[in-house]
Subunit: 103 residues, 2 copies
DNA sequence: CAGTCATATAACCAACAGGGCATACTGAGT
DNA sequence: ACTCAGTATGCCCTGTTGGTTATATGACTG
């Protein structure tokens, strides 16, 4: 499933979920509260994230604890890599340019 | 328009366009040929990219030369940053783990 | 200015995504 | 077994997206 992580990240709410799980493992209900979203909506996003391998579930009694799996994001990072130089170079240019002003 | 670049990158064809423009400035027709896509489809993607600030156009007679603007990708890179450590750490763990086997 | 090349836009369409509500499932406690 | 908490799923509805074909625009050419 190449490209999948890009699709998944297109959804703002899903990025927020990942951000929350980056801090720590959380049950669905907590995500629902923190995101101020409906429970089914969150469950649906979690399903998508799970199918993309971006989260793992662990069962704890009635609750399901979701944990981040960052590895699929590597693909995004690798795609982005060659661009990084470009936007950094552009920053350098700006800095150099600004440097010429106060002189 | 925060989050916009994420949406834009969700489309594989658009990522390919950016990859092509990363090499050099190109007219629409060239992109059409290289992507084996229809001209209107490509123009549409270019519009989306333009509105997201990811490309710039320059007119050269009848042709429009498109050039990459990587700067908006910075937002993606910054979002991704905290995750990078995680997937790299995970790789370290794996290596360390493998290291314990042969010993 | 008629014709043509390169590109953009319009109109339309099929597919899909994300939200809501209602409901099914699962494990614990009684 | 009944019930409740926590979560997943099904179904419906709506907005959006990406593609297609046909047409408009704009610039050069004879």
């Amino acid at each position: 499933m190449p490209g999948l992580p890009f699709d998944v990240l297109a959804e703002p709410q899903r990025r927020r979920i990942l951000d929350l799980l980056r801090e720590e493992e959380r049950p669905v209900g907590e995500l629902v509260a923190l995101l101020a979203a409906s429970q089914p909506a969150v469950s649906k996003h979690l399903r998508v994230l799970r199918e993309a391998g971006l989260v793992e579930v662990r069962t704890d009694a009635q609750r399901r604890l979701y944990r981040l799996r960052a590895e699929p994001l590597r693909e995004v990072g690798e795609w982005l890599e060659p661009y990084r130089r470009l936007w950094e170079r552009r920053l350098d240019d700006l800095e150099r340019h600004l440097g010429t002003i106060p002189g």
